[in-house]
Assembly symmetry: C2
Amino acid sequence: MRPQIVLFGDSITEQSFRRGGWGAALADAYSRKADVLNRGYGGYTTRLGFFLLHHLFPLECTNPPVATTIFFGANDAALLGRNSERQHVPVEEYKENLRRMVHHLKKCSPTMLIVLITPPPVDEEGRLEYARSVYGENAVKLAERTNEMAGVYAKQCVELARELGLPSIDLWSKMQETEEWRKKFLSDGLHLTEEGNAVVHQEVIRVFNEASFCASAMPYDFPHHSEIDDWKDPSKAFLQFS
Amino acid sequence: MRPQIVLFGDSITEQSFRRGGWGAALADAYSRKADVLNRGYGGYTTRLGFFLLHHLFPLECTNPPVATTIFFGANDAALLGRNSERQHVPVEEYKENLRRMVHHLKKCSPTMLIVLITPPPVDEEGRLEYARSVYGENAVKLAERTNEMAGVYAKQCVELARELGLPSIDLWSKMQETEEWRKKFLSDGLHLTEEGNAVVHQEVIRVFNEASFCASAMPYDFPHHSEIDDWKDPSKAFLQFS
């Protein structure tokens, strides 16, 4: 019955309902208006995510999401020859996978609001610090991701959105506008702090509002309590729903 | 496709996806296992909530929730002759409304896990302080709710759960086990602080686990990234879903 907003992506989406998370904040912003469903898959790349499309967004669905965020790239951009190389997806394929995801969603619902989100920037030193905190002396000496490479993927993501006429959030650039972005927005050089989550939340709200998908303009599913006149016999207030 | 957990209640449920909220924490705990849907309605009583039952839980639904929390009473217990008297629902009716809600949900799905949650305790001085902070000299001088009355409703809620053989969470008693409950768990004498939210979260998780509805025992909907053997051609890992 309620419209659905689906968050499709990797661990940064999967973790978005943790304390201060952008997914939970979105669910709160659309409270009583739309449901926010978390379809984040830690460790996944666009190559893996592609296999989920038909399951998460079946073409025969009678009630497709009204809005979907697609938020991959942090894993795709893992470097060849480094510790996470198995996750590496070439940037051309990343872009193509995103394109196929969008095509699928558009087939699912031509009116669905689709928002592409770039990977966040990477704090290489933060990644190495994190590795040392977990593995001690056995930690890798070379970060498995670089900020420069994440930027290459981010650029293609924004470029694809432009090609397809979709809104996008250039998180990679946006976060780096703030001088202290490394520690302020990233907890381990890659995943988001609460303040990093707040940036994603603000940006998603901004893009949703610009696309006229604004929570404040959407009706409540049932009367606000201030609209109930007769609390002894409130049936009249609910007549229109029966 | 994913099992659904529905949180049905008043503002304490509606606000449960705010920072540190128990609803968001539950969604995170069941991440990739179940969806948590917020059906909280600020200001609502069991008398109002009753009108939503057929809409939120239609009997003909082919995919009813696997678990539902029913969390009313904070408004029902508003005192007659005080500022929020229109919300007052006599305790006998409160209990009867809860009973009818449970019957409806059981008709919807005989296997649904239904958990009754009592209203939290009330810090009367905290309510008055809050009123003064909002209305200054025009603030009411008598709290619209008392802790004693909330306790009367809580007792009937627990009693009903016992009669129906359902699990319940006696939040009213649980919170008062902690000496500093007034300021520690309540932000305005009635609604929950982050620490108050954490109590609800822990209690819901405890009851869910006791009912063998345990996130860690539920399968992931799709392979965990550590189970992907061939990242170049991951199709084999998804064969069972095609």
